[in-house]
Amino acid sequence: MYLQLNKLVCSLVLLCFTAGGMTDSLYVFVPRGNLVKAVWIPSDLIVELQSPAGKFWQTMGFSAHGKQCLHPEEALYLMECGNLQVFYQDLPLSIQEGYERFLYSKTMSIQHYQVFGHLKRLGYVVNRFDPSSVPSQYERQLNLPQSQDRSGRLPKRKRSHSPTSRHTGTQEGPTKRMEEEKDCNREEEDKNPYFLPDLSAPDIDEIQTASHVDPTTLTEGGQSRSWWSMEGSLDPDPELPGQPQSSPRWDFRSIPFPDLGSRRWLPSSLTSPDPCLLPGAVGLVGACDVAPWLQRLNLREVRMSRRERERDRDRYQRDINQDTEVRRCRNWAEYQELQERRIQRSRRDRPAHLWEGPVTPLHDPAQVTSTGELLDKISVIKSTRLLEGASSLKGSEEWRICFNIYQPDTVAEFKKSAPGKPYSRMCVCSFDGPVPDLWTLKLLAFQSGDIPVTYAVVDHGDISFYSFKDFQIPTDVSF
């Protein structure tokens, strides 16, 4: 087949040269059977496949309302490789038109595409970054399996059947923004980053209003939803800009939780909670009688041993009138002298000229301490880690993470629905722009979670990769 096709190619090339009609084309001839056809949809900014996808489907593309789709940069890359032919208004697009139509804005510019293409040609798996898919610190601590299963799959663990909206209320799940949509599409196989990752920081107020959605829509997913992951994804809604929310849905500071154990205030009954905090079907609940709950609390006196009681008495229950030394004082002046003497006794090791002034020594030699602690005390600059203070940083328009990169040797087992942890995340910049400052580094490192961030600097076709590693200067002292 190869030999025959080769001869065909040679004769066809000759034909084109002699015909002279078409100029300047890609002299690649692909057998029609291997060429996947697709259509460009500018309103959604996606490319929709019209014939079944080939081998590239394993690592690229996503499903949307029953059809296989590709992002513009993926489509352009496949066009350059000769695997895909994209039609617009019934005519095939050339590579030039692909560049002009698909690389449209700051979110997917030609520099981003150059980085994307460079890495794909080396064999890496490159996906768009979705900020809400990064698990929070708490989730990482819990070490939950990062499944992005759609609602069609049953969770492996059996758990008590409870209304799902209560769980979604407490979860700090990925892809919170999808709760705004109504449809749950069970046919989705993989994570669908429909919207371009827009890392402008979401307002807390916006989250509140967004989360006060009719909870009944969330229960539509049914029992077969895994409680820690997102429910089914939805149709791309181009009007709604993607609002990735990575903070929790509930603002716990504003929800009053009664403290039934406090001795100071014992309410007789609790008022009805705000209906928006309750599962939708429950509605208004009446006031709650506290008495049966209090009975269940352990309000008994603590029984202390004799030693504990003595200690208690000596420390906390000293009555100054019972003190014999105080009784011997006949007037106020003598009492003050007594106090003075007592203080002096306790501060025997500390000379007054050092310790009574406004400036006191940093360290009392009588106190036992180690060299390391001493060094810490005298250090002026405290060492810090990259992620310190990073959680309070707001997002930036200029700097954002664009891609997730997975290593080439994982391609064989790569599954779009469960890609696992990426090898790195990529941020694209150029030598013309500013150098990333510490604020940017902290922001992006925090957004990336525990995956290192690589900065791809594009300089007219040349790409260099830089990364910043958190590094602690080693201390030579044994603690």
Binding site: M1, L3, Q4, L5, K7, L8, V9, S11, L12, L15, C16, M22, T23, D24, S25, L26, Y27, V28, F29, V30, P31, R32, G33, L35, P42, Y77, M79, E80, C81, G82, Q85, Q89, D90, L91, P92, S94, I95, Q96, E97, Y99, E100, R101, L103, S109, I110, Q111, Q114, G117, H118, R121, L122, G123, F431, V457, D459, H460, G461, D462, S464
Partner: protein, 335 residues
């Protein structure tokens, strides 16, 4: 030796005519965002002859999955594009993607007609190809070569896309009888081909275009469509352009030098044949450069064995009469 010479001069004339045609051509530059790109192979050639190198940034058509050699489009430095436009050798083709008409039925019809023609031609060529193979088999058998079985196997392997039943061929393989019989069978096969050959659509080769086909390569249309070069607003771009133009006038070839911490790399000739001599850093006349920056760039230059040029352009606004001031940095001892 008179006879070979006339031929040589004729061919030289042709070549010079061709180069003149290329040199008179107006190069089209398309913008993708703020980046100027060039798409046509002949224009790349003419630009290179003018000293504009650029960088290839697309996938190479015949080997798309590697990064060592890239293909079109050619990305230009903004200064390169501006120089071409100023020289009158290039024109900016505006982006026509925003004016989206509806489906153009004429063009669609043309496209489908073209595809049909291509399919017919390919079908005819495939048939010819098949016939010549069979003929070669026949003649091979005639000459009594022992390669007949191999050729049969070749036929069997390549008959996937053709309606050729394998059984008669296998029968032929087994039948090691007289050559006359097998030749007769092959002749019958040839006739059957003429009647029953069909070239399936899935085997058709399809052409994928790199550059946009159409009117825009015609120079007159290009002049009509062309827009002006976007004027840069800041002083730094202006300085860079003046330095670029001056160095280009002196015959040097320049490429971008982000990897080397500078603005341009200066080559005495084509970059494919020479190493760079200088790293150019453009700064404005009144700007003061911190000493650690000077040290850094000097160190870098001495490590890569290139001379660092600090360049500033003069104050005058006109094109003529301005001068570019060059300062070179060289690491030397206290001699």
């Amino acid at each position: 030796m008179d006879s070979p010479e006339p031929k040589r001069t004729v061919s030289r004339e042709d070549a010079s005519k061709e180069s003149m045609a290329i040199s008179r051509q107006v190069i089209g530059i398309n913008f993708c965002g703020p980046t100027p790109l060039m798409w046509r192979a002949d224009e790349l050639k003419s630009a290179r002859e003018l000293g504009i190198i650029g960088t290839l940034v697309g996938s190479l058509a015949r080997q798309p999955r590697q990064n060592t050699r890239l293909g079109r489009p050619l990305e230009l430095l903004p200064e390169e594009g501006r120089l071409l436009a100023d020289m009158g050798r290039a024109a900016v083709i505006p982006d026509s993607t925003n004016e989206d008409p509806e489906v153009n039925p004429e063009q669609v019809q043309q496209y489908h007609a073209g595809m049909e023609n291509s399919f017919q031609e390919q079908g005819a060529m495939a048939l010819e190809d098949r016939k010549t193979t069979l003929l070669r088999v026949m003649t091979a058998k005639h000459n009594g070569e022992g390669t007949s079985s191999l050729t049969y196997r070749h036929l069997c392997d390549t008959s996937e896309s053709c309606v050729l039943a394998l059984t008669p061929l296998c029968f032929l393989l087994e039948d090691s009888g007289s050559q006359e019989d097998s030749n007769g069978a092959v002749r019958d096969r040839l006739e059957a081909l003429d009647h029953g050959f069909s070239f399936p659509r899935t085997a058709m080769a399809v052409q994928l275009c790199t550059a946009r086909a159409g009117l825009s390569h015609c120079p007159e249309v290009r002049r009509l469509l062309a827009t002006d070069w976007p004027i840069p607003r800041d002083e730094r771009s202006e300085t860079r352009f003046r330095v670029f133009r001056d160095l280009r006038r002196q015959g040097f070839y320049l490429t971008s030098a982000g990897k080397f911490g500078g603005d341009y790399l200066v080559y005495p000739g084509d970059p494919l044949r020479f190493h760079a001599y200088f790293i150019v850093v453009c700064i404005s006349m009144d700007e003061s450069m911190p000493l650690c920056d000077v040290l850094a760039i000097a160190r870098l230059g001495s490590n890569v064995k290139k001379t660092v040029l600090l360049c500033s352009s003069g104050e005058s606004q006109e094109d003529d009469g301005e001068e570019v001031v060059y300062t070179s940095l060289q690491w030397s001892g206290m001699v």
